[in-house]
Symmetry: D2
Subunit: 399 residues, 4 copies
């Protein structure tokens, strides 16, 4: 059969998670006429550009456990997904369940995952990548498409040391894989599977994946676009929107203390100090990068698991700053947002951007996507407004 | 005697007010080595430009009542001015007091002002402008300078109707003055006096002044720079820094409710609904201008006089917005800042910018100063970050 | 047929409103096993007392417009009522609709109400009371009960002058009614109809009703209990819980500024300054009553209609206070609560308290219910904790 | 010389700390006519009782380092002490400096303390108590008084294990001291020295002191009153004032997350996890004690050192609760208070209460002082309002 040029495969790692479930239902909602609120690329400003049609995105993916129906019900009860949309999408979830491939779990989680995923733990890293590539090929053939994107949405991994050789952008990661430790970060495996299949890869949750120099270099050489790292959806988005004002008005920030609370599976994962470290580091780096003239600034970043909040990420920040003649002033804010409803439209945006980069033949880390990430690949700029200008310039290079 | 090319006259309308007093002491503090926190033009980014030296700014000005010593003591007690700086600056205030010229009060306030200012109420508008011009000439000669700027810092005026003819940018305001109503806005008189003396004029507090088309046109024809209107120091600064994020992420702002509390003389003046109207209108306009895609947005702006706060302006804002699939989220912030400590460094910045425009021969409204104002003259852009880019481009036209 | 001694009639004025709808569904939820969260009388502390069984409460009532199904759907969409409970209760709402009696609207609203209610505007005040009494008798007979309570839940009325004679507790309101103005407060008519039928009356929303001395006196003479005025559900509850701490620690409150936002029908009604006045007055009075040692306290009470909030009442309060040696400190709070979910369980509590008072033979204003009201009838005490002690003492007089 | 019956010795452990300095200046301020804001015992309610005259309190005390002048200057700069009061009190501080006795430091701090205090580290615990008793006797004789109170204000100690025998209220602590570890908690030493001298002891900062059963039992047998533990001045005060409202309204608290920031010496000490543990434990216990019907409540307590805040303790709390039918609501508050200005007046109150207990012959832990402490000695009640009723009943036993 001939490929369908308008069809796009959206292959999600952690497809039954809250973000994956919101993406799945969101596409259905958009098809039925709901407005694309929260999608950067869907506004009038960029309406004339040649975007992939999100109504033709087909979701497939991997997961190690769970049940798509229950995930959807939870999100409806919590006020993230409209109950009627969840009801209407039962068949869609049934079809999704039938196509889900087993994921590659971390070895520590063998007892927590489903049988099929546990089986993949018996493979070597090289074999794991082969298995993931097989999944991608199968979905692309099923969907009769040549366009697809892999988006990494799994919960924060445990932090692990990576052999030094992976830090070399010239190294061949496929070779390195042969001697890689059995517990190598799963995000690297998914990234390599995608790149080998010439499918763009998006690092949406904090994970090494395409941030590893050998992987990024490989993507560049294979001319496959990679985007990341760690979606900027809540407190960090606000920080990088507000800090430029303090910089430009030359107000001296003495302390910026952020307290984050969340109650979903990601939050539970972050109870593990090992996994929290990466997330906190990503959040920690943005302020000093923007506020270079506030050198002794005290930056506090706390993340606490508060189960009653479910998907509702709540951040309370306290900013203590000095103005003229040393007068001490303060700004506090409280942000209450649905983690999944903030992330899902960005997943659709990033899919479109990845496909645009791919169609322009721009492989390797896509710098223009910096505005979407806490730790943008190869970009030093954290000022959200300047990152948006980067995006605008890339989208309209003529200007 | 020869003029001193480094000397600059800073002529403040309402010189004994909280902002004027903070400017006076601030210059003294900077001379004694305090860092210029909060001054936009004093950072490393613009260090190579040919700025007027703020240590050579000499403050003069008009006022209708008050006592510079008491104003300074109040600000020290409130934690705005460092007590030791106030103590050290006693002689400076004595000298200032000797040079203060009577102001031109509103007719309604005849009983509330000092004798010399009340006397000016017996003059016609034309004579009032003559008297103010005389003050300017006298100070410039005393200071042996040809460089000066008039900054309007008086409390919000009562709103008054202006004859239609003033709306014509081609009209000659000096002629219009001959038939002007006796209670014509005092800000217009000060603006015209400055323009006639070829001294730039800055509208820092909400007042018609140079916003009147006939006045702005006159400034342009006379090649005198005018800057304004209504300094952006607190809640509006935050609004115009944050709203671009909502716009760029295409989050739908349903309601943005702002509650402002302040306790100084400006706050007391705003108890009068007549004076409050202008201020609220300026604050009201910025959000719809930035958030064009949130058309049914409910914008609430409240300003309340809360005496115990004195100079500490406190704003509590509640922002209710929708994300993907209509999920409702919120952001709240509380801003606690010293009104005077936020405004004073901007007065110094605007003085420098006015002088730079003047030296470049750019008369009329200075668009590049938009980032400093709630209602920037002839500029539609309210996005603070884009306004800063306007400034950067003007400062370095080569780029 | 014999009366059923366990059956209780709960007759609501404004039965299709948000609170009425929540009461109706709440009883159904409780019957199906949901825990009685938010009901003061349902805890272990008072479990041994002889309470009316809320599972046997039958809702009837008056309304001037609307549709019970739509009201329920709105509350489900807003996250107040569980969607499955709304779905299950369709038949209950059908039955309610069939029993609803026309209300007595204010004359100004003749065009806004349904036909049957408009017809009641043609009656004289005396005839109106007769009609309402007829409704009560009909429902009681239908329900085969002798126990019933009328709860006034209508939106804030327009404030109106009442002839001086009504201020006399000894006056007979039934006689006064004969010469009463045609637009006499509807709450008085409902109160009198209830009292004449020997059914207790609860003033839950701000309205004269049983607060009028002639009405209260009549209730006392007829030995019918009346409870009110103006349910204490949100910001005022917090104020009266927190202010005692400032009093007891002798911290000097300089300013207590409260900003209330709400988006439901009550909020829309309060856009009318005439109706807002009563509500604000009730909220205004509590702090000076508790904080007698902070005599110059500035109390600000704002209520704004913010449609996007629907039923979610949001209050932001700023408390500025002085401690030892005059040090200035602050407390801010933000309260986000569902107006209806906070009010509905109190309606059930008050019904139980009214019936208990009635069974004890205690007519007239029930002082022990003070903790439930912003303006408790004949009680000066506003300290919530002391009001709770009043309740405890009344419930266990032995102690 | 004859003793002066009105003179009271106020002997502070950590006399040069922020609280000690505020107490010293506060007494001076009260003498000069400043109102006793923040003093519980100084209001009209208790005006008729036979209180010790705070204008006759003379401060003496121990410290291991520091300089009273610098402490006062810091507090003036931070806005806690009025600058003119600090200036006027120079002589007072000079006299204090001359009378200060060396403290007993923890062994780990030998290098951080002054020479005289380091010398005390060479003593055995028994000798340390002797030395402290000597100090007390000397001050009492110098002041010609028989009335004195020792108040423990030192920063949080490191937590240490105490031999089991000290847990026995019947044990004689003086005997136990002979075999006590060299690093025994210093608070125990001060408590025993006070008790042996028949001087009441107040545990104001978190420390074992009089909370140790053997010490408390000894105080009871010697008929010396002891008060504590851990002054309730900020976030915990608010928690115990607000939680009763949630309890009485039967709202189900799901999560109560508290983030505390402070920047003074106490804050720096709490950077040490060892010292933080006790403080957090005291703060942690109050909510479960009050909210017994919210059994699965998640309670978070964070304390962070934020240097820029100095003495200004800032707490941001997020309370997530359920109402009727499970509706989820929230309350947030931000408290910004001066730690020292909140604590100092309570030190004066507790001194008066300790003397009143002593004069009534009531030795051992004073239950009536529960309202002043996070962890009240031998009292289970944490509800602030009920604790205040305990105090009122004790003060007027007749009622």
């Amino acid at each position: 059969m001939n490929p369908d040029p308008n069809q796009t495969g959206l292959f999600l790692v952690g497809v039954r998670g809250a973000i994956g479930t919101t993406v799945l239902h969101g596409i259905e909602g958009l098809r039925s006429g709901m407005p694309p609120i929260g999608m950067v690329t869907a506004g009038p400003e960029f309406a004339d550009l040649d975007w992939a049609d999100y109504e033709r995105f087909s979701v497939r993916g991997w997961d190690v456990a769970g049940d798509a129906h229950r995930a959807a019900d939870d999100l409806a009860r919590t006020g993230v997904l409209p109950p009627d949309l969840v009801e209407l999408s039962g068949g869609l979830r049934d079809r999704l369940e039938m196509s889900i491939a087993p994921g590659v779990p971390e070895p520590e989680d063998r007892q927590l995952v489903d049988r099929r995923s546990a089986d993949r733990l018996d493979l070597s890293p090289v074999e794991m990548v082969e298995a993931l590539r097989g999944d991608i090929r199968e979905w692309m053939s099923e969907l009769r498409t040549r366009k697809a994107v892999v988006v990494y949405l799994a919960s924060a991994e445990r932090s692990r040391d990576l052999p030094e050789a992976w830090m070399d952008p010239e190294a061949d990661p496929i070779k390195l894989l042969m001697t890689a430790p059995m517990d190598i970060s799963r995000s690297i495996l998914y990234a390599l599977a995608a790149i080998e299949e010439e499918v763009p890869f998006v690092n949406f949750t904090p994970a090494p994946g395409a941030t590893v120099p050998a992987v990024a270099g490989h993507a560049r050489r294979k001319n496959v676009s990679v985007l990341g790292n760690d979606g900027k959806t809540g407190e960090t988005l606000l920080k990088t929107s507000l800090a430029p004002m303090f910089r430009d008005r030359r107000l001296h920030v003495m302390s910026w203390e952020g307290f984050n609370m969340l109650g979903n599976k990601d939050g539970a994962a972050l109870e593990d100090p090992d996994r929290k470290a990466t997330k906190v580091a990503n959040k920690d780096a943005v302020l000093p990068a923007i506020l270079k003239e506030s050198p002794n600034m005290h930056v506090g970043v706390r993340i606490d698991f508060v189960p009653s909040l479910h998907d509702w990420k709540t951040a309370m920040d306290y900013i203590h700053f000095q103005g003229f003649l040393g007068a001490k002033m303060s700004l506090q804010f409280t942000w209450q947002g649905s983690d999944s409803a903030l992330a899902a439209p960005l997943v659709l945006d990033l899919t479109r951007l990845a496909l645009m980069a791919q169609s322009r033949g721009e492989g390797g880390p896509l710098h223009a996507a910096a505005a979407f990430f806490k730790q943008p690949l190869e970009v030093e700029e954290h000022d959200f407004h300047r990152q948006m200008e980067l995006l605008r310039k890339w989208l309209r290079p003529a200007t």
